[in-house]
């Protein structure tokens, strides 16, 4: 297993409260009788790739949906850059700098690839009805800027050749990259990806990993749900593990890889619980 270790030591020094970009505080979300997320405390550090892992039904996607405003939390708080964003609408959260992709790709399928990415620039533009109807010079400039940014993003993910193709016509792997490019077009501080490697073949996954590493700059932080352990270990600086709505472990990839509680959650607990005695399943919420 390959770990992402190059900047581990220096990063760990920086992992103090000032370096936290996103934090959830006692976050709780339930659906009917089911508590999907229970008193979750989670941290995402600035400039890093953080992974959220856990068995199916652990509540990972729910966390993402609460963070991006699609669900309203039942309890607790989400702090982005020290500011509470819980209860805000998704589009407000996007303009604050969190962009996301979906587990099942959600593109604007009848619009062209370029238009899809231009849509991502929506919240960074301001032209209103009248300036659009009359085509004022400011609106024209803004439109040109939107197009320029969108074109550069499209080249960045290598989909320039499909710019006038409806998004539904391109291959699955390309659609995934297009969705990421669209999220990047919102000029986010935090990019939230829900299982970006699912449905991709090995080569595409490799390309995705390289791409994510390449866009990771000081002003961009990435937060990923991922199932593929190989990907998780390779790209993460920090891993949070969830099971049944709770956080059961967090740490660097090596720490997580060797954590018995995590192994237990993934493989079942009979063989471990007696010897380790460290984790007896989640307490009722």
């Amino acid at each position: 297993m390959e770990f992402r270790t190059e900047k581990k030591r220096s990063e760990r020094m920086k992992r103090n409260d000032n370096g936290i970009l996103l934090r959830t505080d006692q976050l709780t979300k339930s659906f009917g009788g089911l508590t999907a997320v229970c008193r979750l405390n989670l941290r995402v550090h600035r400039g890093e790739i953080s992974c959220l892992i856990g068995p199916n039904g652990a509540g990972k996607t729910t966390v993402f949906n609460v963070v991006t405003g699609i669900y309203r939390p039942d309890g607790g708080d989400v702090l982005f850059n020290g500011e509470s964003i819980s209860g805000k609408k998704p589009h407000q959260i996007v303009s604050k700098g969190i962009a996301r992709t979906f587990q099942n790709i959600r593109l604007f399928s009848n619009m062209t690839c370029l238009e899809n990415i231009m849509a991502g620039q929506h919240c960074r533009a301001s032209a209103g009805v009248w300036s659009s109807v009359f085509g004022t010079s400011r609106q024209k400039e803004e439109e040109k800027r939107i197009r320029d940014v969108a074109e550069s993003r499209l080249r960045l993910v290598g989909l320039w050749k499909f710019k006038d193709e409806p998004a539904k016509n391109i291959a699955y792997g390309s659609q995934r990259m297009l969705e990421i490019a669209r999220a990047l077009a919102t000029q986010p501080k935090l990019l939230v990806l829900d299982e970006p490697s699912s449905g991709l073949n090995d080569r595409e996954t490799e390309d995705l990993i390289d791409f994510l590493k390449s866009v990771l700059k000081e002003d961009l932080t990435i937060f990923i749900i991922e199932h593929d352990m190989k990907v998780v270990m390779e790209i993460s600086d920090w891993v949070t593990v969830m099971d049944e709505g709770r956080k059961i472990a967090e740490g660097t990839p090596e720490e997580i890889y060797n954590n018995p509680v995590v192994i237990e959650a993934y493989l079942g607990k009979e063989e471990f619980s007696e010897e380790e005695g460290s984790y007896d399943g989640p307490a009722p919420c």
Binding site: H91, M118, A183
Partner: protein, 332 residues
């Protein structure tokens, strides 16, 4: 009409430029060679084109099922009728007033219902349209004249200089308004706003997750659509010199809905084709008298069988609709 030609030439490729130019000339020359009867048909074609354009914003661009659009049309027509007959305000002054009244009405009525999806929004708009019509029949505060409506509406005039009272003048009035609307709407289609609308039509959740304020943009579509319908109401009222509730039935809303679907969702040339079909069809089939509506219904079904995306669908987009599963909060 001249504006339309020059504006569009900037965007439309050469081959289509000539076609647009030809159509504009045709529309401009038509009333001088045709009799008044046909010019009046041309006028109603214009009214339906304007109404189609207004519904196209809501239904075609944003994909919101609005089967109560006649309600906005009625608000525009009655605003003009009442303010003109009671206070003698000139029709042309009332043109923007009617648009504003219909827009304001749409804003107030749609704000609480805008979160509803698909068929649920559809049924609420039906209810809204029916409430407007029933309220007009019931003659609140003695303003609407009950089932008989309001009579004696003036012709539009420019301070006594020009009185629009002949068929030809009305024809040009409506088609100039339609042409200006088309120019404006083409601009909107190419803008951030048009894109946001289309995104909402394609996938509402993804639109919201990409920073589009779905609620506001849906409301904006209703407000603009209602405004244009209000303009149509104003011109209609002054042409007929009277308005009555039976012009604004659920049936009328259904006709407008068919304009969009016959022409092609979100397609402006499609709206013109659809409006032509709706307004010319009954005339062409007049010899069949009683049977013409039977034929009309059959044509609607056949259309959907052989050309479900409409006659002239928008170039880039197809229908833009996926099967929807009746759940008001989740239609995916």
């Amino acid at each position: 009409m001249e504006d339309k030609k020059t504006e569009e030439s900037g965007r439309i490729p050469g081959s289509r430029k000539n076609a647009v130019f030809g159509i504009v000339i045709l529309f401009a020359v038509f009333p001088f060679i045709a009799g008044d009867y046909y010019v009046d048909i041309g006028f109603f074609f214009g009214i339906y084109a304007l109404l189609g354009l207004s519904l196209n914003i809501v239904l075609g661009e944003v994909g919101l099922f609005d089967l109560g659009h006649a309600g906005f049309y009625a608000i525009g027509a009655y605003t003009t009728a009442i303010l003109n007959t009671q206070f003698g305000i000139p029709i042309l002054v009332l043109l923007p007033v009617s648009a504003l009244a219909a827009s304001l009405f749409a804003y107030v009525v749609c704000s609480p219902i805008i979160h509803l999806k698909g068929d649920y929004l559809c049924i609420v708009t039906i209810g809204m349209g029916e409430i407007v019509r029933l309220a007009l029949i019931n003659n609140p505060f003695d303003l609407t004249g009950g089932p008989n409506g309001v009579f004696g509406i003036d012709f539009p005039s420019l301070g006594g200089l020009l009185v629009i009272d002949s068929s030809i003048e009305f024809y040009f009035l409506i088609w100039i308004v339609v042409a200006l609307s088309i120019i404006g709407l083409l601009q909107l289609q190419q803008s951030r706003i048009g894109r946001a609308w289309n995104c909402i039509r394609e996938d509402e959740v993804a639109a919201e997750a990409n920073g589009i304020d779905v609620r506001s943009f849906k409301l904006l579509a209703f407000v603009l659509g209602a405004g244009l319908a209000g303009v149509a109401g104003n011109i209609y009222a002054s042409k007929l010199m009277c308005v009555s509730p039976e012009s604004f039935t659920f049936w009328e809303s259904c006709l407008l809905f068919s304009i969009i679907l016959i022409g092609g969702m979100g397609s402006i040339p499609g709206v013109l084709i659809g409006a032509a079909a709706i307004s010319l069809f009954p005339e062409i089939f007049r010899p069949f008298a009683m049977f013409r509506m039977l034929v009309f219904g059959a044509v609607m079904i056949l259309m959907m069988m052989f050309r479900p995306a409409g006659i002239l669908p928008r170039k880039r987009g197809g229908m833009g609709f996926r099967p929807d599963h009746g759940n008001p909060v989740d239609d995916k």
